[in-house]
């Protein structure tokens, strides 16, 4: 059964929602999930949904988006709403291990074949019961609660999501694709909690694809914790392809052990309001992290990428590149916090944020934030905001290429640097094609996206 909650005063109603449905929330949930809920709820209740008076959310006031009349599912039947159809992802055909989650709940229709021995992909609730030691050891250990109130909200409310476990030494060749679908007959609030554990010497790549397939308002709070153990190699590609009525707060929190090499790439191709919290903790020597993002916004969309790379130990390297193309009245924000702790000597940290503004109304706030407490380090940061190069445009036109086509070539050239960083060849090609379609205006966000056709001046279309 779905509970309908009318949120007007935020904290009052969310608090009531939690308390009234607590028995549903905790029923059949793994023990540790429940143990952490109390503390999480306390943090959430105290701080509340952030407004722009909170420093970290200065450019993204979440409060208005978390208001409204929203349905919440406290069970998987409620989440599926009787629609357990087989879904097809609209990211072009890729050879992956493909599973679907609907409104934050793992679908029982999923059948994953051909995974190497010992690899587990399933519902976090169910797998926690099958693998209690793993769950106990890792769940919540990224200490997400301490930093971000939205992570606390997720910890308090989330009941299901995906669980991925890669045992020692196993290399998973094909990407594991989690397709997160938002669906339903009315406006909805969704929570999803994912846990990914990559053991020593293991390698895997995960795709998180966020889609909306119904023309209602979706408010999504999801959180993915990743543990990359010694010598592991792990990539996560988050492809966001949602309509204008979506508000998504997404967390990717990665904890690294020595000699691990991780890559995150947030490809926000279409969305309403997106806040991506990306946090990488290099808690050991000789870690390497690649943190990338591409955001393509138009109309009244808003994308806020908030990253925090923690060089907690020496001899680690981080490479960060976020690029955005903003059209119409889109707005964006990039905050790149890099912390180099006092003993983190021999750190190399490189950060870059480049933005292309196509109109006078598009706006970007870029805030590199390097805190360096060690003295033997190499750190750099750069941020640029610009328009399309007139000279380059004239060069293209002088060869017979018209202005529209020229713009597309130049925008694509700009975006390509981030697409190039995709370490999975077929995926790179697919994203390349999707981005080109996006620039050509041939992008199909969802079946019923007629609402997004306009300029978006009405309140509901943001």
């Amino acid at each position: 059964m779905n509970v309908t909650c009318r949120v007007v005063n935020l904290q009052e109603e969310y608090s009531q929602l939690y308390k009234e449905n607590y028995s549903l929330i905790e029923s059949c949930a793994p023990e540790k999930m429940n143990t952490l809920r109390a503390k999480a709820f306390e943090v959430f209740n105290e701080k509340g949904i952030p407004s722009n008076k909170v420093e970290d959310y200065k450019y993204t006031n979440l409060q208005p988006y978390f208001k409204g009349t929203l349905d919440i599912a406290f069970s998987s039947e409620a989440a599926f709403n009787g629609s357990e159809t087989k879904f097809n992802c609209d990211v072009p055909e890729l050879d992956t291990h493909n599973v679907f989650l609907v409104n934050g709940w793992y679908s029982h229709q999923n059948e994953v074949n051909g995974l190497p021995t010992g690899v587990v992909v399933g519902s976090i609730r169910e797998k926690a019961a099958e693998y209690p030691e793993v769950f106990e050891k890792y769940y919540g250990e990224t200490n997400a609660l301490d930093s971000d109130v939205m992570a606390a909200m997720n910890t308090a409310f989330a009941q299901d999501g995906a669980f991925i476990y890669i045992p020692k030494g196993v290399i998973v060749e094909k990407p594991i694709q989690l397709v997160n679908i938002m669906n339903g007959a009315s406006d909805r609030l969704v929570f999803q909690r994912n846990l990914i554990v990559v053991e020593e010497n293991a390698q895997a790549k995960v795709m998180l694809c966020d889609h909306t397939i119904a023309p209602h308002k979706f408010v999504v709070n999801n959180l993915t914790e990743v543990f990359a153990n010694e010598n592991s190699v792990f990539d996560v590609y988050n492809v966001q392809n949602q309509h204008n009525l979506t508000t998504q707060v997404s967390g990717i929190f990665v904890h690294q052990k020595k000699h691990s090499n991780i890559l995150t790439n947030n490809l926000t191709l279409h969305s309403g309001v997106t806040r991506n919290n990306i946090r990488i903790t290099m808690d050991d020597e000789n870690c390497e992290s690649h943190v990338y993002g591409l955001y393509l916004s138009d109309k009244n969309q808003h994308v806020d990428n908030f990253t925090f790379i923690d060089h907690a130990k020496p001899n680690c390297q981080s490479f960060e590149l976020f690029k955005g193309v903003l059209d119409d009245s889109a707005t964006g924000s990039f905050t790149g916090r890099v912390l180099v702790r006092p003993d983190a000597q021999q750190t190399n940290a490189y950060q870059s944020n480049n933005n292309l503004l196509l109109t006078e109304n598009a706006k970007i706030n870029s805030k590199p934030q390097l805190e360096i407490y060690a003295d033997d380090v190499k750190c750099s940061h750069g941020a640029t905001v610009g328009q399309l190069d007139d000279e380059a445009m004239f060069y293209l036109r002088s060869r017979g290429i018209n202005q529209t086509e020229g713009r597309i070539l130049l925008m694509f050239a700009f975006a390509y640097e981030v697409i190039e960083k995709i370490r999975v060849e077929p995926l790179k090609e697919n994203i390349r094609a999707l981005v080109e379609k996006r620039f050509r205006g041939e992008f199909d966000k969802c079946d019923s996206c007629v609402v997004c056709g306009q300029q978006g001046t009405s309140v509901s279309c943001l």
């Binding site: 036109r397 290429i401 086509e405």
Partner: protein
Amino acid sequence: MLVIKDLHAKIDDKEILRGINLEIKPGEVHAIMGPNGSGKSTLSSVLAGNEKFEVSEGSVTFNDKDLLDLAPEDRAREGLFLSFQYPIEIPGVSMVNFMRTAVNEHRKYREQVPYSASEFLKLMREKKKLVEIDSNLTNRSVNEGFSGGEKKKNEIFQMAMLEPKLAILDETDSGLDIDALRVVANGVNKLKSPETSSIVITHYQRLLDHIVPDFVHVLYKGRIVKSAGKELALELEEKGYDWIKKEFED
């Protein structure tokens, strides 16, 4: 083919071209020389349609069409080609993609069937051989990391791909060593035909040893002040521009 009548053009209210008159027939090579600041590059930019410059007076007819009325891409599709003095780098746009789009736009304009990917690659290989351009240069982004000479060769390669009726070579020889100069000139000569023409803008005689002009014009302070045969270039090489400046000072 090209008729320029009393062309005046300015940038930021400063008049650079002050009444250019020039006529070019098919199959002809016209050299334009002149001291720095005389308006040579402005002339080529205005003919190509660079919107930085404003045409205040005059007319330009290209193959009986009003050239000034056409957008830059249409001028190119009509058969005008400008080899830039300083070709710009465009990282992220691959040479192949760029050329294929350009070539197919030209073909669409002429109502010809666009090339398929394999047909196009075949064409590229042919033209690369013709102008002796290195394979590697076409695998990269447009002009990215190219040396000065490589950029100029790339301009001639593009010219070979697009087969223009009128090519304007804006100081194609600047920055080239003797060998590169020879290669570029060879390329231009191979593309020459009785139906095509070129305007060669240069400071120096030596390019004109390789690309032999039918007419040499001297541009000074925005006007063509002297026109003659190729001997004029030799005279300028010997005497410099002072005698021209004295004769046409106003």
